[in-house]
Point group: C2
Chain length 374, copies 2
């Protein structure tokens, strides 16, 4: 293999594929990046930790076809520290990789291309085009709510559900449910469901953010795998097996109390109140919902405090307690100026959503007021 | 106590004094910040971990004189999260501190002012005025070379030496010596020496960087304490006791080989070469000094490499090895485009300095070439 490419293009591509490099993997080869020539004008870079693989293309002058696996850490660090400009990369039969610029020359022990793990042959599934901003929005609005307890199976994943003209993403962890939906006539067709590990969904969002140029991504949802094509990058992620929770059953049928409140004001108030937490306890806050006013209060060994936030209320007054983290998560994930909170009683779930429409729903369980003890 | 001040001014002052808050201290009160009224228009904030104390002033409307100690962490976090604008702070006889804005009200349990530790009465010492940029330059060019091994006594400190028209800062750790000097007619007067813990010298540099307005700092070097006045901030640091190493004795009297080389090129080359390090070993690099060219090379299990850097040489050719970290430290700390390296043999120290003058000298011990094994 003998190629010449620009440092500045190579480092962008390395930043993309290295999101699939597992630093903790014990499989030596998954700490590597496969460099491979693709015709006369391009090379591809690939990395995988078996569950996720990312491949991207880089413009290059290919003088000699071939492929080789290099240490991801060493190669990325080296390229990052090289000056902008041309880099000559060669690999010989012993997989010695030479990285050469005008004044630098490094010889790294590579590995044979064939050792690099391949994903099984790729059946095609249900395809849809979606704007990059939209899919990132869907992911960033839900993935944080998935369970981080690896023993919890499907709920460590994010459900992608395509049905009629709607793509829904759902994540839950037993204390909250986040649902985000996007409608488009273009989505109509075969229904499909897929559960993608939340950790890898977040990597997909990051890779999409790193790609330039095109506005759209192509999703291909298969039986065992989701593929995301964006620009010259292909991400493949293995799906979680199993049946997802019937999340629609937990959504409240009616809501007696409605509150409309400024998102930023609420976020600031909850963040400040949450600073008062007793050692070893979660940061609990108490909501007092009254006419025209929401009071957020907290108490800990160190002191106590409250925040008054203007709000429009319909329905009864209410006292209810929450784990502040579950509130700040959602208030950071949405961008609306105002949000709607809907309640029934102090022991039933609260539904947070935009003031209009059903494009986002976030259900959160309260904590007992005796726990909050304000 | 009853005061009103602006959130944006208060948070700047908190950022300054919290550099003296010891997060690991077991003395409860040193995790606190003393808030005290100073006349009708100002308050002072103070923090200390006994070795260092920082006091700064904030414009305020003082409605009722007084003072109180609050939890540094909680108070700083709270003020940081409050919106810009007026904050009303009161303290009552029980030291309950109320922090109030238009919509927020927090009550924190404070402590009585008298519990806050005082530095002993402050004798005045030798004073000198110095530009903020200059004192920061002196500190940042030397403090990194001090020993981090707390058992090493005086060499965990930075020597401040004022003699004739010269202020010198010196730090060393047994492998290297960094000396930076600043000349000014205004420095003439009584000679004085002081050893300041390197950790705290760095805090002084940071605090100076955080202050706005005035261009000068006033140093007051006493028997047991250095005081730094800058703007409305006073930093007091306890000196290390003991006699500093006679560092002038280790500076080479003559240097047979001289090399002038671009600082950035050398830094880039050494950083790249240093990435090739065998596990558990320091990142060694080998210098081959030849006519017109410096070659920096390295070798590890993963590969090997070299960098060619244009250089002007006088004297013999030379092969010499270094711990790369001791080189990158100094190459990052100075700003000259070109530097001079002076050598005698492959086992004697190398002197790094600007091409002209003696305002900076950095002496570094080589490692045996057999260790480098390139």
């Amino acid at each position: 293999m003998k190629i010449i490419c620009k440092q500045e293009k190579l480092i962008k591509a390395l930043n993309i594929v290295s999101k699939a490099v597992s630093p903790t993997s014990t499989l030596g080869i998954t700490k590597g990046i496969l460099i491979k020539t693709e015709g006369d004008m391009k090379i591809s870079l690939s990395a995988t930790d078996i569950q996720i693989s990312i491949t991207t293309a880089v413009d290059a002058i290919v003088n000699e076809k071939g492929g080789v696996v290099v240490s991801a850490r060493l190669f990325t660090d080296l390229v990052r520290k090289l000056p902008a400009g041309d880099i000559l990369i060669t690999a010989d039969e012993e997989n010695i990789v030479v990285v050469k610029t005008e004044y630098s020359e490094y010889k790294l022990q590579g590995k044979v291309e064939e050792e690099f793990p391949r994903m099984e042959s790729d059946e095609s599934g249900r395809q849809l085009r979606i704007e990059k901003e939209e899919i990132r929005d869907l992911i960033n609005g839900t993935a944080f709510a998935a369970s981080t307890d690896e023993s919890r199976g499907v709920i460590t994943g994010v459900l992608f559900e395509l049905k009629e003209d709607k793509l829904s993403l759902v994540a839950l962890d037993g204390f909250r449910v986040a649902i985000k939906r996007e409608k488009s006539e273009a989505y109509k067709g075969e229904s499909v469901k897929a559960i993608i590990p939340a950790r890898l969904v977040r990597e997909i969002s990051k890779v999409i953010a790193d790609t330039e140029g095109e506005n759209e991504a192509l999703l291909d949802i298969g039986e065992r795998r989701i593929k995301v094509f964006v620009e010259e990058t292909l991400i493949r992620v293995n799906l979680l097996e199993g049946e997802y929770i019937k999340y629609n059953d937990v959504l409240p049928k009616e809501n007696k109390i409605k509150l409309v409140v400024g998102r930023n004001e609420l976020l600031g108030g909850v963040e400040r109140a949450a600073m008062l937490r007793s050692e070893g306890k979660n940061p609990f806050v108490r909501f007092s919902v009254e006419e025209g006013m929401l009071t957020v209060s907290s108490r800990a060994d160190e002191g106590r405090g409250h925040e008054k936030i203007k709000a429009q209320k319909t329905g009864e007054d209410l006292e209810i307690g929450f784990d502040a983290r579950f509130l700040t998560d959602v208030l950071k994930a949405i961008s609306d100026d105002e949000i709607q909170m809907q309640f029934n009683t102090s022991v039933s779930p609260c539904l947070i959503s935009p003031v209009e429409g059903d494009r986002y729903e976030y259900l959160i369980l309260p904590v007992r007021l005796s726990t909050v003890s304000v």
